[in-house]
């Protein structure tokens, strides 16, 4: 079935000539601060093509797309639209050149109707626009009440509205950023129909995805991005799934595996598990089972949107539990408030440092001690500032956090040092279990090394660590055991011996792990 689809596309592709290039990107580089995100990207999109752009989190895909949309400007490199060199200085230039991006989180006006949303920002007469709109809706074959409010639409429908916007602007180049991440199976199928139709009409599509199955189902070409470069490129028919998985793996795989063996392996012995999650279901995940032992690092791997953050934040009391139980040292902590869970002995380093972690304009001391405010450690009523500074200082020294003064705003620190402060906060309550959600996202290599050292030390001191990460390398290096989540379920568990990046990668892209969960 899948092969025939790919064949169809090859046929479609043969119809337009080779010269009809829609978009050509040459040598694009982009650096944020000291972090080179794009290191010379070349990409060509021709009429009727659907290019799958795949790659891990942080590979630079969305930066590249934002440059094409004119939201960011490239440091160097050229962009040709329809063969013409173009300076994409802002989104409206990109729009006028027929480029349209459907962002992962649609940017609609929630209180307006579908029609108003699509027609907003046009200057033609409205009767003409409405006529065109109804044509496009028909073309899209979408049965929707145009008078519905955008806030009542599902994410899939919102994405369709975004696609309609692109069609109304006569977009020739459509960028879809993980369009299926929030869609149900049926919705995915109808979206694919629309995409095939676009291909036939000669529209070029850049399709960003994490799901390898979709690559074979819908795209004509595939480009793999890794560390700011396109490493693999070609027609989809040239590749097998295994090729793609191999292409996604980091190059220095062998060496890392050897190094890893040096760390002392975790001995479970006859310890009792400290955290037992039994058949837990909640919003975004279901039927989750695992146990965590003192001194063990359990990796939770998977892609963004697999339900990992929802799982751990529900354990931490941020959302409602639908069914199942969580036990900490034999005590039932299911559905307790965050405050109670914290008291019971779990602490959490959240995924979104800026939104959920940092008190940006507060001091380093205040950031370190914020989780201690409920306990007696800093005084019963009055705040013992000396004690607070002592604690902050000892963690800063311990973690080699580069700070000038404890009273400086944490916003003045680099990302890595901010993260060290947040980790210090999570340890300040002397928890039995620490949940680290993407602990090294967006921080530099040196800080990453420090964070790894901290995690190893935690392990040695008998703290159980739940490590959520999209970085397979990180899981492989740190974890004693890993579970893989895919669309809200555990799809694989790997013991330390079985833990390799290719297994993790294929399992998190939805392929069967070599060892299935035995139910």
């Amino acid at each position: 079935m899948k092969e025939t689809t790919a064949m169809d596309h090859e046929k479609d592709q043969a119809v337009p000539g080779l010269s009809n290039s829609l978009l050509s990107v040459k040598g694009i580089c982009k650096t944020f601060g000291s972090n080179a995100v794009l290191k010379g990207i070349d990409l060509d999109l021709r009429s009727g093509e659907v290019i799958a752009l795949i790659g891990g989190n942080g590979a630079g895909k969305s930066t590249l797309m934002k440059i094409i949309m004119g939201i960011y400007q490239a440091d160097s490199g050229e962009i040709y639209v329809a063969g013409e060199k173009t300076e994409l200085v802002n989104p409206s230039v990109a729009l006028s050149k027929g480029i349209y991006m459907v962002p992962q989180e649609p940017m609609l006006f929630p209180n307006m109707t579908v029609e108003e949303n699509v027609l907003m920002g046009f200057s033609e007469s409205s009767s003409e626009l409405k006529k065109r709109l109804s044509e496009k809706v028909k073309e899209l074959n979408w049965n929707v009440n145009l008078q519905r409010k955008a806030s009542t639409l599902s994410i899939a429908e919102q994405q369709l509205v975004e696609i309609l916007r692109g069609m109304m602007r006569e977009a020739r180049i459509l960028i879809l950023d993980e369009p299926t991440s929030a869609l149900t199976f049926d919705e995915v199928q109808s979206l694919f129909k629309v995409i095939r139709n676009f291909g036939k009409k000669g529209i070029g599509i850049i399709y960003i995805t994490h799901r390898l199955n979709e690559v074979f189902e819908i795209t004509t070409h595939v480009s793999i991005m890794k560390d700011g470069m396109i490493t693999v490129n070609g027609p989809v028919s040239d590749f097998t799934k295994e090729d793609l998985v191999n292409g996604l793996l980091p190059p220095n795989l062998e060496k890392k595996t050897e190094e890893r063996q040096e760390e002392k392996a975790f001995e479970r012995g006859n310890l009792d598990p400290v955290l037992v999650v039994d058949n837990l279901s909640g919003y975004g995940f279901s039927h989750i089972n695992f146990s965590l032992y003192p001194g063990e690092i359990l990796g939770i791997a998977g892609l963004v949107g697999a339900g990992r953050t929802e799982l751990v934040s529900t354990i931490y009391g941020r959302d409602q539990v639908l069914s199942g139980t969580v036990k900490l040292s034999g005590k039932d902590i299911t559905g307790l408030s965050t405050r109670k869970v914290l008291e019971a002995g779990i602490n959490y380093v959240p995924e979104d440092r800026h939104y959920q972690g940092l008190f940006k304009i507060s001091s380093i001391s205040a950031n370190t001690s914020s989780a201690l405010l409920n306990g007696p450690k800093l005084g019963r009523f009055f705040l013992n500032r000396k004690k607070e500074d002592e604690i902050a200082k000892s963690y800063a020294d311990d973690f080699r956090t580069k700070i000038v003064g404890l009273n400086d705003e944490i916003g003045s620190l680099s990302g890595g040092n901010q993260q060290k402060v947040i980790i210090a906060r999570s340890l300040s309550t002397s928890p039995k279990v620490v949940i680290l959600d993407e602990p090294t996202r967006g921080i530099d290599a040196a800080a990453r090394g420090d964070v790894y050292n901290i995690i190893h030390r935690l392990k040695r001191s008998g703290v159980a660590v739940l490590l959520v990460s999209s970085d397979m390398e990180e899981i492989e290096e740190l974890a004693d055991r890993a579970i893989i989540m895919f669309q809200g379920r555990i799809t694989g568990t790997f013991s330390r011996e079985e833990l390799t990046q290719d297994r993790l990668t294929s399992a998190s892209f939805g392929f069967k792990g070599e060892k299935e969960v035995s139910e």
């Binding site: 989104p91 409206s92 729009l95 940017m107 609609l108 006006f109 929630p110 209180n111 307006m112 109707t113 108003e116 027609l119 907003m120 920002g121 046009f122 200057s123 409205s126 008078q147 409010k149 806030s151 599902s154 994410i155 916007r165 929030a182 869609l183 149900t184 199976f185 049926d186 995915v188 919003y283 975004g284 995940f285 279901s286 949107g305 339900g307 929802e310 895919f486 669309q487 809200g488 379920r489």
Partner: protein
């Protein structure tokens, strides 16, 4: 069913229905209330509030606030009064009122959208400055003893007990409503308040839109001052104090969300009528007018709390549905394989 949905969508309609319900309840207690002349009088009495509410509705739609309108109104009322004292023309007053309104609105707009000062604070400062200015202009005395013609206009009936002001305002509301709902640019105010980033992405200038909203708001407040002077025949130095809060309350009653992006000019108008008619209704149901503020306060609180709870529920259930659909996607796939 479809009509019911339409109804839910039109938030102004609920405030209209609420107004009718209020009138009916009052009428049930005291049938005298539901006479034509009484209802028209209620509407006639609401013109000042309505003007203020329409003006500030523009600002609130963009997600900002303006607490200087009471002072703007006081200032233009004072100036109109002084012009009236020397028997000047109403045109002259209106020119002054519009110019002052525009000027103050432009200042507010610059402060809020260019300097990014939080709107409450900036307009608060402007409010203080204007209050002082009123004192300077009026010399600290109540402006009164207007030439006759001016105060007559205020109560002149055009037809069937409808005053000139009411007639003009109804026309203005109709025009603005059409402009805001039927033209493309008219929807920019709501769009900016609804999702500023989204607005920028489709090429709408957030700064310009907010600026325009403040200018419109200022003009309406200025004109309201002229109407105020002619209706009441005297302007003391604290005229308009607290009117900004009543205008905001009218907008909230009319279904305009203070976080912006939601609402309709008709709602603001009906809200203003509710605000100004409550005391009249109290008289008819034999309650002292002392109940005025209490009743308005209770109404306002019930409406906003209910609205907030409903909205929160909707957002939360949408999020949960989205998350549940993820796990359902897995089930669909597994089911399909089997």
């Amino acid at each position: 069913m479809k009509y019911l949905n339409e109804l839910k969508k039109a938030r102004w309609l609920s405030s209209f229905l609420f107004l009718i319900a209020l009138f009916l309840v009052t009428g049930m207690v005291n049938p005298d209330f539901l006479t034509y002349s009484n209802i028209v009088t209620s509407f006639n009495g609401s013109v000042v509030f309505t003007l203020l509410a329409i003006g500030i509705a523009f600002v609130i739609m963009t997600g900002e606030i303006d607490v200087s309108i009471g002072a703007v109104m006081g200032l233009t009322a004072t100036i109109a009064g002084q012009i009236a004292k020397r028997n000047g023309s109403i045109l002259e007053m209106l020119v002054f009122a519009v110019l002052i309104g525009m000027l103050v609105g432009a200042m507010n707009g610059i402060g809020v959208s260019f300097f990014h000062v939080p709107s409450l604070i900036f307009t608060l400062g402007i409010n203080g400055a204007l209050r002082g200015l009123i004192y300077v202009v009026s010399g600290g005395k109540t402006t009164e003893n207007f030439a006759g013609a001016f105060t007559k206009i205020g109560n002149q009936v055009l037809f069937a007990e409808v005053t000139i002001y009411l007639a003009i305002i109804v026309v203005i509301i109709a025009v603005i409503h059409l402009l805001l709902t039927k033209t493309k640019k008219g929807k920019y105010f709501i769009a900016v308040g609804d999702n500023p980033n989204g607005a920028t992405l489709v090429g709408i200038s957030v700064m310009k839109t907010k600026m325009l909203a403040y200018i419109i708001c200022g003009i309406f407040a200025g004109v309201a001052g002229v109407v105020f002077a002619s209706k009441y025949g005297q302007v003391n130095i604290v005229a308009g104090t607290g009117y900004e809060m009543s205008a905001i309350a009218a907008c909230v009653l009319g279904g305009i969300s203070l976080s912006g992006g939601l609402g309709n000019i008709l709602g603001a108008a009906f809200g203003a009528v509710i605000m100004s008619s409550v005391s009249r209704m109290l008289v008819f149901i034999h309650l002292p007018s002392n109940f005025n503020n209490t009743l308005t306060g209770v109404m306002l609180l019930i409406i906003v709390v209910a609205d907030a709870l409903v909205q929160r529920h909707a957002v939360e259930s949408a999020r949960r549905k989205r998350l549940l659909s993820r796990t359902a996607a897995f089930d669909a796939k597994v089911g399909g394989k089997k």
